[in-house]
């Protein structure tokens, strides 16, 4: 008994003893070296008594040499990441690998099954610097795990509704209605889609197809977007799938199936193009998803809670949402957030819609002419600002766009050019009010961007053209939401 107590005492005392002694701290990239007596180490921060006074250094990206160093184990950055199978395996893993390559770490992935993976980063000397555990859960559970402190980073498609959770959009995706390759249908109206998913259309023969009952396949969990599709009774009988690639395969195999899958998991299915009652249709493409012109766009979030994380982990999160990580995101089949430019000439469809929509009203035609005059020498960026339902608050993807655009401007991407924020409204209500509203929104977004700039030589302007260029039909809520927007043009 006494013997055991002595061992326990030694193990308690040992780290305290070890702390007194000279140490040399060096960052992994060799840029900073610090020499002195270790005052304390709390598992994260070193306080070192040096010739220049007491200095503090983050333990997350340093190597420690000398008698006074804490146990090497305590210098390893640790994190637990959880989220849906596709995001954890297909997106987080390549992002960690790219981050490791950029920082010069050796990357090791240990696959423990479809629901668990471990990633390890080490120095070229073999010294382990980070261990990250990846765990697969569905979209709803993951936020609960984060709140309970059981994971450090939650990834998923559901927006956190509390300010206590910090969230970053690190990639884009979208929900796409799909059918099997041997299903002849290529296009449906929104009414038909809602009928197929709802109670109205329970057999493909009602759409001049084969006599087969419609079998519905949906992702697990109720994301905000699934709710937007106005689920009805038959949603309850739909087959749910946790893994989107299994959902996609189930639809591929069944000519009677109608699935709703993430854009990144379309696989061998065929996407249905959805048109509104007025005939406007926007297919899901990387550009329409980036611009959020496609109505069922879903940002992918990285959620963290206010606990301070090791520096290496914070750096990884910063990398994942950075400009440099976008080619990695693209290579995995998700949609990246790089800012592309669309030439005026490539927007013929939109302009034709604008001219047709203007009809006989001279005032409407005048506003279309003004718009063409203002934009015809410009290019539209694939980044658009949109608002939450019935509010002037930006939606999550647009808030991410705010940061992304200001970073690009500060980086010098638009030096010597003019950025024009161009507001548009839906066509509900009087045209005069819509015009005013579109101008106000454009001005407000311009103001938010201006606040984040650090003096780059870029001119900012704003304009508004009301309901002059609808992108979707105004007869549905999601159509109106697509139409209420602030586009960004470069001149």
């Amino acid at each position: 008994m006494l013997h055991r107590l002595a061992i326990a005492l030694i193990s308690i005392l040992f780290p305290l003893v070890a702390l007194a002694g000279p140490i040399v701290l060096e960052t992994h990239d060799g840029s900073i070296t610090l020499e002195g007596e270790l005052v304390s180490f709390d598992g994260e921060l070193f306080r070192v008594e040096t010739a220049h006074g007491t200095l503090t250094m983050d333990g997350g990206n340093v190597t420690c040499a000398g008698d006074g160093c804490p146990e090497p184990e305590s210098l390893i950055a640790k994190a637990r990441i959880a989220g849906p199978a596709d995001i954890v395996h297909r997106l987080i893993s390549p992002l960690l690998q790219a981050y490791a390559e950029k920082e010069g770490y050796i990357f090791r992935r240990v696959f423990r099954g479809d629901d668990a993976t471990t990633w390890e980063l080490s120095l070229s000397t073999g010294q382990l610097v980070a261990v990250i555990d990846g765990q697969v859960t569905d979209d709803e559970t993951v936020l609960a795990l984060l709140s309970a402190g059981d994971v450090d980073i939650a990834v998923g498609r559901t927006e956190a509704k509390t300010d206590a959770i910090q969230q970053d959009v690190f990639a884009l995706d979208a929900l796409v209605p799909v059918v099997a390759p041997d299903n002849p249908r290529a296009m449906v109206t929104l009414d038909q889609l809602q009928g197929l998913l709802g109670d109205g259309i329970d057999n493909w023969s009602r759409l001049a197809g084969p006599d087969l009952p419609v079998a519905i396949h949906l992702p697990e969990g109720k994301t905000d977007l699934l709710r937007k599709l106005q689920p009805s009774r038959r949603f309850a009988s739909a087959q749910r799938h946790i893994d989107p690639s299994i959902l996609s395969d189930a639809v591929t195999d069944d000519p009677a199936a109608l699935g709703v899958v993430p854009y990144s998991s379309i696989g061998n299915t065929v996407p249905l193009v959805v048109s509104g009652a007025c005939g406007l249709a926007i297919p899901a493409t990387p550009d329409t998803i980036r611009a959020e012109d496609y109505p069922l766009t879903e940002p992918l979030f990285m959620h963290r809670i206010g606990v301070r994380q090791p520096k290496l982990i914070r750096n990884f999160v910063a990398f994942a949402r950075s400009f440099e990580a976008q080619p990695v995101v693209r290579s995995t089949g998700y949609v990246d957030q790089a800012i592309g430019r669309i030439q005026f000439e490539r927007q013929g469809d939109r302009l034709a819609n604008a001219v047709l929509g203007a009809g006989d009203a001279p005032s409407a035609m005048k506003s279309v002419q003004e718009m063409i005059g203002a934009l015809m020498r410009g290019q539209r960026l694939t980044l658009t600002f949109r608002f939450r339902d019935g509010s002037s608050e930006l939606d999550p993807q647009s808030r991410s766009n705010l940061r992304r655009l200001s970073e690009a401007v500060n980086r010098g991407d638009f030096d010597g050019q003019e950025l024009v924020f161009v507001g548009f409204s839906d066509g509900v209500g009087p045209a005069g009010g819509n015009l005013r509203l579109s101008k106000e929104r454009a001005r407000s977004v311009r103001g938010s961007v201006a606040k984040m700039l650090d003096g780059a030589p870029v001119a900012l302007a704003s304009e508004g053209f009301g309901e002059a260029m609808p992108m979707a039909c105004d007869d549905t809520a999601w159509g109106r939401q697509v139409n209420r927007r602030v586009e960004v043009w470069v001149r």
């Binding site: 954890v88 395996h89 992935r109 240990v110 696959f111 099954g113 690639s245 061998n268």
Partner: protein, 303 residues
């Protein structure tokens, strides 16, 4: 380098230039690891003029995948001048970016065959011959055969290698994991389901009809299954799903299975993943474990 110095009584005859020797040393030293089986000797090497049969400097053929086999570069190495079996390694180009390897050595010996990150054990026959077709992982493909504490290496130019994407599983001992490729929505046992039970052929790939599976190793030590897909000349669009399966058996239930998974990365290099899979408990014998997420799908855009 100490290993090399202690072997200075051996002789090496080469049919290629100094560059090849340097390459050979680098490659083999890298793969030596802690395995005392593998050594190589480059002392007293006498570089000979380039083999006139070599076409290493000729332009690549215009129709990749349909070329007739041609020997490119081979290194002949004599381990013991007085030994009855003089080792010889010949590589030939075959359709579907395959390397036809012929190794001549001592009869009924275990040898280790290394190509890139793939390493397997095989056996020479009663005539001392080992023939094996290996998917080329690089345009400049290096193959090493290690045996009885020696190694022989050869390099071959494979111009069509970059048209292919590969996934591989490597394991030691009895086979537990099986690779299955489901091409463009193929169901089980259909035309586009490629696995050990229906491995298909490299000719299928050269016709642009799909991929094929190569099994390497004789089961005595390290083995591999490699699925190769002609991404550069596919006539389809969509995805090839790569699934790894394992039967729960009395031998593996409750145990951890270790393996290595390789896959061509988005930028062309080969990414490696360690598999450390805990098999279900023994009451689940007969069940099938399916791993959907070990490999990334191969995504093909319409050409």
């Amino acid at each position: 380098m100490r290993v090399l110095a202690s072997l200075n009584k051996r002789r090496v005859f080469m049919t290629c230039g100094v560059l090849c020797i340097a390459l050979l040393c680098g490659q083999v030293m890298q793969s030596l690891g802690s395995n005392p089986m593998e050594r190589v000797d480059n002392t007293k090497a006498k570089p000979l003029p380039v083999d006139p049969a070599s076409n290493a400097l000729r332009p690549p053929p215009k129709m990749p995948g349909r070329v007739k086999a041609a020997n490119v570069v081979s290194i002949k190495k004599v381990s013991k001048p007085d030994a009855a079996c003089l080792p010889q390694l010949t590589l030939k180009r075959a359709p579907g970016a395959m390397i036809d390897l012929t190794f001549q050595g001592c009869k009924e010996r275990s040898v280790v065959l290394t190509h890139g990150a793939v390493q397997v054990t095989a056996q020479t026959n009663s005539a001392g011959t080992l023939r094996q077709s290996v998917p080329a992982l690089d345009q400049k493909s290096v193959v090493t055969v290690s045996f009885d504490g020696d190694a022989i290496q050869s390099t071959i130019e494979m111009p069509d290698a970059n048209l292919f994407q590969h996934v591989a599983i490597l394991w030691q001992g009895p086979q537990t994991l099986q690779m299955h490729a489901f091409e463009f929505g193929a169901k089980r046992n259909q035309f586009g389901h490629v696995w050990a039970g229906a491995p298909k052929s490299p000719q299928r790939a050269t016709r642009g009809n799909g991929g094929f599976l190569t099994k390497l190793g004789d089961g005595s030590g390290a083995s591999a299954e490699i699925y190769s897909f002609p991404a550069g000349q596919s006539q389809n669009r969509g995805v090839v799903r790569l699934v790894v399966e394992a039967d729960v058996t009395p031998a593996n239930c409750g145990q951890q299975i270790n393996a290595v998974a390789l896959q061509t990365g988005p930028l062309g290099g080969i990414d490696s993943t360690e598999v450390a899979l805990k098999m279900p408990q023994c009451e689940d014998i007969g069940r099938l474990v399916r791993l959907q997420n070990l490999f990334q799908d191969m995504r093909l855009a319409m050409r």
